[in-house]
């Protein structure tokens, strides 16, 4: 009896070692990204990239899958009270933080208490609208959050990449500030080191709760600012994954046999806002004329090398409750007719500002300038440098004197939900300096829809209200909707399991390399 058993064991060991062998060879992957990280603390970050990187070591109660569908992560599920004020969240069991402590409801309390406390001065304080009354740990695996006023998109806020669960023990040990240099979460990777000028390195967390993951040993996040240099890094094999790939070099990378170029759909909307409080843009006909005058397909070709599609609504497809209305047709004759009807048969002169000064923005603004020239509108382009933008647009105090006219800008809805896609940009109370309604648009009908949608928890009702809001805004044309861009990434064919999700963040829990 002995020998068959022994051979079985030997065989099993053999199989095991065969299976396990590749796992013992170090699997190190390198991600080349476009800018340096501002922090490792998602509550104190306002850039998508830092938050995406932080997914290495942090996870939230909820999150998004690679198609931007909301999914529970550390939470099991949730219930809302009838009045829309109390959210009860059930947590998954058996999850450990990197420091060995168990993930329990006290973590939810510690983290939400931290961000909602103005003393901690966190940049994401505003995300929760000062609307969380209290957070309680009902038992080890049940958390209860009470709101001050009903706010139906609340769960989307919990799914936002900044709402993550940091180990309460670590928070206590390092304090609210220094936690940024010693991140401790439940994520698939542990923090190793951060050399601000060079790279940030994370290593596999053996106690990760999703069995079988992560499949690689380390990830090195390497910020490489220059587009062409990043492309070079991919070609030499020094990096395995890169985002973003500039539109101009897409074709170069596509031609390389060992690289794969991926164009993923996005919820990044590019539009041209028009100051509706100022002449001549107070006239809807002028605004519609401008929307008609721009050839969005040609724009996609000129500035995005074809990696963009004309915008089909006020909120891009992929955002929950987004309605497809457009695209707005390109019709120069109609544009000329409208502008003549508005009383400007010979056009006029105006300012065209861009919120960014990178090369794509240079191309886009010059393209818009060329297009508007065709209907007699002569524009003076200024690409605002970040500080100028803050001064002249974002923090302008008096709406009556706001100097912004035509303004090229974009928006990515990181909660994946219509409220955050519409309210900051078009709501009557979101004019600068409060939020980013640079069109100074105000329509009582639209505002009522948004307000009511926040209060209702009924999904069908919400859909109806948001549809009405989007159609209202589309027809009023406070913006000329331009394009929704595609997210271009490239990875080595040996690499799998890394996705750029529609808000330009990454999912990489399943990353593997052959």
């Amino acid at each position: 009896m002995k020998s068959p058993l022994r051979s079985l064991v030997t065989a099993a060991l053999g199989v095991f070692s065969l299976v396990a062998a590749p796992a013992f060879a170090a699997k190190d992957v390198v991600f080349a990204v476009a800018s340096t990280f501002t922090t490792t603390d998602p509550y104190d970050a306002n850039d998508t990239l830092s938050q995406a990187m932080a997914k290495s070591f942090y996870e939230g109660l909820f999150g998004f899958d690679k198609d931007m569908k909301m999914i529970p992560v550390l939470a099991e599920g949730y219930e809302v009270s009838k009045d829309g004020l109390v959210y009860t969240i059930k947590l998954k069991k058996g999850i450990k933080f990197h420091d060995g402590t168990d993930f329990k409801a006290d973590a939810v309390k510690a983290n939400l208490d931290r961000v909602t406390n103005p003393e901690n001065k966190l940049k994401r304080y505003g995300l929760y609208n000062n609307n969380i009354a209290k957070t309680e740990a009902v038992d080890d695996y049940t958390a209860r959050i009470t709101l001050k006023t009903p706010f139906s998109p609340f769960i989307a806020q919990l799914a936002h990449p900044s709402t993550v669960m940091i180990s309460p023990a670590a928070l206590k040990q390092w304090g609210s500030k220094d936690i940024a240099f010693h991140p401790v979460g439940t994520g698939p990777f542990k923090f190793v080191e951060w050399k601000a000028t060079d790279y940030l390195k994370v290593a596999r967390f053996d106690g990760y709760w999703r069995k079988g993951y992560p499949k690689v040993d380390t990830i090195t996040w390497k910020p490489v600012v220059d587009n062409n240099s990043r492309a070079a890094l991919m070609q030499t094999g020094e990096a395995h994954f890169t985002y973003p790939v500039p539109y101009e070099v897409a074709d170069v990378l596509k031609a390389k046999p060992d690289l794969e170029l991926v164009a993923a759909p996005s919820i990044v909307l590019r539009y041209l806002s028009m100051n509706t409080q100022q002449k001549p843009f107070d006239n809807p006909k002028v605004r519609q004329a401008i929307a008609y005058a721009i050839n969005k397909d040609a724009l996609a070709k000129v500035a995005f090398n074809g990696y963009a599609t004309p915008a089909e609504g006020v909120a891009p497809q992929g955002v929950e409750y987004a309605v497809k209305i457009g695209p707005w047709p390109y019709d120069v004759a109609k544009a000329k007719q409208l502008i003549a009807e508005a009383g400007y048969p010979n056009g006029f002169e105006t300012e065209l500002w861009s919120a960014y000064n990178h090369t794509t923005a240079q191309k886009i603004t010059q393209f818009i300038q060329q297009q508007l020239q065709q209907i007699g509108i002569r524009t003076k382009i200024t690409l605002l440098e970040a500080g100028q933008r803050i001064e002249r647009v974002d923090t302008w105090q008096d709406p009556a004197t706001a100097p912004v006219r035509l303004y090229y800008v974009g928006w990515s809805t990181s909660t994946g939900e219509a409220d955050w896609a519409l309210r900051p940009l078009l709501y009557g109370e979101s004019w600068p300096p409060k939020l980013s309604n640079t069109a100074y648009y105000k329509n009582p009908k639209f505002d009522a829809d948004i307000k009511n949608a926040q209060l209702t928890t009924d999904s069908a009702e919400k859909a109806k209200l948001y549809k009405d809001a989007q159609e209202t805004a589309w027809n009023d044309a406070p913006w000329a909707p331009l394009v929704v861009e595609k997210l271009l990434s490239a990875h080595n064919k040996k690499l799998s399991g890394v996705y750029v999700i529609p808000d330009a963040s990454f999912n990489f829990t399943e990353v593997d390399i052959k």
């Binding site: 340096t36 501002t38 922090t39 104190d44 306002n46 850039d47 103005p118 001065k121 966190l122 940049k123 994401r124 304080y125 505003g126 609208n129 000062n130 500030k177 940024a180 050399k195 601000a196 000028t197 060079d198 910020p223 490489v224 600012v225 220059d226 062409n228 240099s229 070079a232 890094l233 070609q235 030499t236 020094e238 440098e385 970040a386 500080g387 100028q388 933008r389 803050i390 001064e391 002249r392 974002d394 923090t395 900051p424 300096p433 409060k434 939020l435 980013s436």
Partner: protein, 306 residues
């Protein structure tokens, strides 16, 4: 001379104090609210106020200046508004890579540049001079980003001889220093040529030549010393400029340098980093130009300074 050096060194502190005040006022005059920039576009006014408090920007200006100055005296430049790391550390991480890149770029470009310049002067208006001139003008008008990219495409991507980005080994220094030094070599070549043309035309050289002295001997013994003044001036200045970091080269080669730190800081109105960097650059230029002035005296002993 020693007295002069001591006097100049004593003058460093007051100068830096004036620079500190000047740059402090200047950054606060710039448009753009750092709190808003740090908080991000989708931040609410309450958040912006929180960030402002967090960054210490809610205090009155004189108080902020006094805090800045007393910090500097204690060698504490505060923390970066952008990264929340200590400014001294932000600069410290980047200073040595910038310094060594500057040194290597200067070494090759001064040697090559002066060699081209001397050859051009000796063969004035003949073909070596024309070739030297073309090289020099190329060096200064060929855009650095293109040069860097071409070098990287050839030596890293195609040939695979050198690494693309980073600053870890000596190999990492080759391409960036070539890119950075090209313009310096051009300037050195042109100045060396011009000075030597002048010196070679001087009577005493002709006299020496007439006396049958060996030409090389003449060039080195008489020509060198007097020709060196503008050359040394430019060398010092170029050294100072390179120490400030080069945005283009640092971007292309992802070099951890001071140029990009400055641009990022200006973009985000990171006052503390800007202030510390301008102080550092001022100190560098004051010291470099002091050394250059002392060199003048050594090269030409008639320069004594009053």
């Amino acid at each position: 001379m020693l007295q002069y050096i001591v006097k100049r060194l004593l003058g460093v502190l007051p100068t830096l104090l004036i620079v500190a005040l000047f740059v402090f006022l200047f950054v606060h005059l710039l448009p753009g609210d750092p709190a808003r920039l740090a908080a991000g576009v989708d931040a609410t006014p309450e958040t912006v106020e929180l960030v402002r408090k967090d960054l210490g920007l809610d205090k009155p200006l004189p108080q902020q200046f006094v805090r800045f100055l007393s910090g500097v005296i204690h060698w504490d430049f505060g923390t970066s508004l952008r990264t929340k790391r200590p400014v001294a550390q932000e600069i410290g991480d980047r200073f040595m890579p910038t310094f060594w890149l500057t040194v290597w770029s200067m070494v090759w470009s001064v040697i090559i540049g002066m060699a081209i310049g001397i050859v051009s002067a000796v063969f004035r208006n003949r073909s070596p001079d024309r070739i030297g001139m073309t090289l020099a003008v190329s060096g200064i008008s060929f855009p650095a980003f293109a040069l860097g990219m071409v070098l990287m495409q050839i030596f890293s991507v195609q040939l695979g001889w050198l690494p693309t980005v980073g600053a870890d080994t000596w190999k990492h220094y080759i391409l960036p220093s070539l890119t950075l030094g090209a313009a310096v070599a051009a300037i050195m070549a042109r100045f060396t040529r011009s000075s030597f043309v002048e010196i070679l035309g001087e009577d005493y050289i002709r006299t020496a030549r007439a006396k049958g002295l060996d030409e090389t001997h003449v060039v080195i013994k008489h020509g060198m010393r007097n020709a060196l003044i503008p050359v040394v001036t430019m060398m010092g200045l170029q050294f100072g400029f390179l120490l400030g970091g080069s945005i283009v080269v640092e971007k292309v080669f992802n070099w951890p340098g001071l140029g990009r730190l400055l641009v990022d800081a200006v973009d985000m109105r990171d006052y503390k980093v800007i202030q510390a960097l301008v102080l550092l650059f001022s100190l560098e230029f004051i010291l470099i130009n002091l050394i250059v002035d002392v060199l003048y005296g050594i090269i030409n002993p008639t320069i004594r300074y009053r």
